[in-house]
C-alpha cells in the first residue's frame, strides 16, 4: 500500500526489478533488448548491468559531527547488512525511505546524495524495529533523527519547503516542554493544525464531535487544570543556560 503514487504503464521501466532502484541513476543502468553472450541468449531482464561509478564529493568531517550527537554516536558500527531497511515500517509506504542507504551516505558524508531524500528523510515513525534487530546495535532509529537534524543544518532553505511542517511541529513541542514543563495536548493539537493550514478541519464535524464529547464529560477542563510543575523556573533557567554553552547541531545552525 505505497503512498507514493505509481502510474500505470505497460512497458517495464529501466532496471525496474532492481531492489532499491532509486539509488541508481538512469545512466548507470545498461539494458539491451537483444543480447547474446557466448552463444547464450540473455535477452530480457537477465542482461541488466550497473556500471561502476566514482563518487568523490565526500565530507568526512560530517561523519565526526554525527558521531558527537546523542542520537548518532554509534554510526561507526554499521556494516551495511540492511536489516534496518528490511524491518522498516516506513519503507513499504515510501520506497525511497531506506535507512541502510541513509546511514551509508552519512558515513561517507555524501551530502549531494542525501539532499535528494529531503522529502522522505524525516518520516521515520520511531517504532525502533530496526534498532531491535540491528546485529551491531547501531540504533538506526535514532540515526534517522540525527539525519533529520543534519539536513536541517546543511539545507536550511528546505526549512521553508519540504521540512516546514516537521520543523514547526517540533518547535511547538519544544516551547511547551521547556516553557511549561508539561504538555498541553489540546493546545498542541490545535496549534499544529493551524500551522499546517488545516484550520478548516478544526471546525469540521469530526473535530467538533470530539471537542463536544470532551467538554461534556469534563476532560476539556482538566486540561486547564494541568498547570506547571512547582519550581519549574529553576529547571528552565538551568536548561537554557546549558543549551547556551553546549555544542549541539542546532546551536551551530543558528
Amino acid at each position: 500500500m505505497a503512498l507514493e503514487k505509481q502510474e500505470k504503464r505497460l512497458v517495464a521501466e529501466k532496471g525496474e526489478h532492481i531492489i532499491a532502484r532509486h539509488l541508481i541513476e538512469d545512466d548507470h543502468i545498461k539494458e539491451e533488448k537483444n543480447l547474446v553472450i557466448d552463444g547464450v541468449d540473455v535477452s530480457g531482464r537477465w542482461n541488466t548491468f550497473i556500471t561502476t561509478r566514482v563518487d568523490s564529493e565526500f565530507d568526512r568531517a560530517f561523519f565526526q559531527e554525527i558521531k558527537e550527537t546523542v542520537v548518532g554516536s554509534r554510526i561507526n558500527r554499521c556494516w551495511q547488512c540492511g536489516m534496518c531497511t528490511a524491518s522498516c515500517t516506513v519503507t513499504p509506504l515510501y520506497r525511497r525511505f531506506n535507512p541502510r542507504a541513509f546511514i551509508y551516505m552519512m558515513q561517507l558524508g555524501n551530502l549531494k546524495e542525501l539532499k535528494k531524500y529531503v522529502d522522505v528523510a524525516w518520516r521515520c515513525v520511531g517504532c525502533y524495529k530496526c534498532s531491535q534487530r540491528c546485529p551491531k546495535q547501531v540504533n538506526p532509529a535514532e540515526m534517522m533523527e540525527a539525519l533529520a537534524l543534519l539536513i536541517k543544518k546543511y539545507f536550511p532553505e528546505e526549512l521553508e519547503g519540504k521540512l516546514k511542517i516537521d520543523e514547526e511541529v517540533k518547535k511547538i513541542y519544544e516551547d511547551m516542554i521547556l516553557g511549561h514543563g508539561r504538555l498541553d495536548l489540546a493546545k498542541l493539537h490545535t496549534s499544529s493544525m493551524q500551522k499546517m493550514g488545516k484550520t478548516k478541519d478544526l471546525i469540521g464535524k469530526i473535530e467538533r464531535d470530539a471537542i463536544f464529547k470532551m467538554a461534556k464529560d469534563g476532560r476539556a477542563f482538566s486540561i486547564l487544570r494541568l498547570g506547571k510543575p512547582h519550581n519549574w523556573g529553576k529547571s528552565k533557567d538551568a536548561i537554557e543556560n546549558y543549551l547556551k554553552n553546549v555544542k549541539t547541531i542546532e546551536n551551530e545552525a543558528m
Binding site: 546523542v70 524495529k129 531491535q132 513541542y173 519544544e174 514543563g181 495536548l185 469530526i206 464529560d217 546549558y242
Partner: protein, 307 residues
C-alpha cells in the same frame, strides 16, 4: 510528603493520563489497588520530553531523570511506575545511557546542580517500570484470576502492544532479563486477558507501529498504519483492540473517525485500554472504568455482549 509505605508504589502519570486519557489513569489505579498495590502519584513532575528533545544533548536525559530524582526525594522510591509507553521509553533510554556513558551522567548532573532544586546528585540505581510489566511481575496472573469476579467470557480481544513497550531491548532489556517480556512476541497482556476469561485473537499486527510519533505532522502515514492494524484485528474477529499506551490511543481511537472516513468501515473497531477491561472484570462499573471516554464507542459492543 510522606515516604512510601509497604504496598505502595511511586507512580508517574505523565501529561496525557491526567487530562484526556483519564480513563487509563483511573482504571490503572483502581486495578492496582484491587491487586494490592496503591499507586501514589508523583507531585511536581515534568514532561518526559516525548522524544522531541533528543536534539538537545543532555536535556533529553535531564527531563525524565528529574522525575526519578523527585521520586527519590519525595517518596523515597528508587523505582518509578508509568503507564505510558512513550514515557517508559524516554525513562529507560535515559537511565541506560547515563549508566553506559559516564560523561553523559556528568553533564546531566551539571544541569541538576545548576537548577539547584533537588538535593544530591543523580545516581542511576533505580528502574523505570511499565505498569503491565510491574503488575505481572509483582502480582502475577494468579492474582488477576483471583480478583476476577465477572468473567470476560464471550469477548474476543486483539491485544496491541505497540512499539515502545517491548522495543528496543537495548533500553527496555526485554529478552535480556528473564522476568521481562519477549520483544518480538510479547505475551504479558495475552496472559492477563486470558486469565480474565477473554479470548485473544491472532492478527499479526501486535507489535506494529501506529505512526504515533508523526501523528501530528504526518497524518497520512499514521492513518495508513492504523487502518492496517484496525482492519486486520477486525478481520480476525476481535470485538476490541486492547491498548497499553495513550499515544496509540491518540492515533487509533481519537483519529478513528478520520481513518474510517478515509479507508472505510473495515477500520471501525472499538478501542479500549487493558486496565479498563481489567476493572470491568474486577467488578467495577462501566462508569468507573470510564468506557464512555473512548471515541470509538466500546459501550455499544459491551452492551451487545451483555456486560
Amino acid at each position: 510528603m510522606d515516604k512510601l509505605k509497604e504496598n505502595q508504589a511511586a507512580y508517574y502519570p505523565g501529561c496525557a493520563l491526567l487530562t484526556i486519557d483519564r480513563a487509563y489513569n483511573n482504571s490503572s489505579k483502581l486495578v492496582s489497588k484491587k491487586m494490592g498495590i496503591e499507586l501514589v502519584e508523583l507531585q511536581n513532575y515534568n514532561c518526559c520530553g516525548i522524544g522531541e528533545m533528543k536534539s538537545k544533548g543532555a536535556v533529553s536525559m535531564y527531563l525524565p531523570l528529574r522525575n526519578m530524582m523527585l521520586a527519590k526525594s519525595q517518596l523515597g522510591s528508587k523505582d518509578l511506575i508509568m503507564a505510558c509507553s512513550v514515557c517508559y521509553h524516554e525513562f529507560t533510554r535515559s537511565i541506560t545511557r547515563v549508566r553506559e556513558n559516564k560523561n553523559e551522567l556528568v553533564e546531566v548532573n551539571s544541569i541538576f546542580k545548576e537548577a539547584d532544586e533537588i538535593e544530591g546528585e543523580f545516581t542511576p540505581d533505580g528502574e523505570a517500570r511499565h505498569i503491565l510489566e510491574f503488575l505481572y511481575n509483582e502480582k502475577g496472573v494468579d492474582e488477576v484470576k483471583k480478583n476476577t469476579v465477572k468473567s470476560l467470557k464471550g469477548l474476543k480481544v486483539a491485544p496491541y502492544y505497540g512499539c515502545l513497550y517491548s522495543r528496543p531491548s537495548m533500553y527496555t532489556f526485554t529478552d535480556k532479563k528473564p522476568n521481562l517480556d519477549n520483544s518480538e512476541r510479547p505475551r504479558f497482556m495475552h496472559d492477563f486477558l486470558e486469565g480474565m476469561g477473554a479470548e485473544t485473537v491472532f492478527y499479526g499486527n501486535e507489535v506494529q507501529c501506529c505512526g504515533g510519533r508523526n501523528v501530528v505532522s504526518d497524518e497520512e502515514t499514521s492513518f495508513t498504519l492504523c487502518s492496517q492494524t484496525l482492519s486486520k484485528a477486525k478481520k480476525a474477529g476481535a470485538d476490541f483492540l486492547v491498548l497499553i499506551c495513550p499515544k496509540c490511543a491518540g492515533a487509533l481511537d481519537v483519529n478513528q473517525p478520520k481513518i474510517v472516513e478515509k479507508f472505510g468501515e473495515d477500520s471501525e473497531l472499538p478501542v479500549v485500554y487493558l486496565t479498563q477491561l481489567m476493572a470491568l472484570a474486577f467488578g467495577f462499573s462501566k462508569k468507573e472504568a470510564e468506557f464512555g471516554d473512548m471515541i470509538s464507542d466500546p459501550l455499544r459492543v459491551l452492551k451487545e455482549k451483555g456486560f
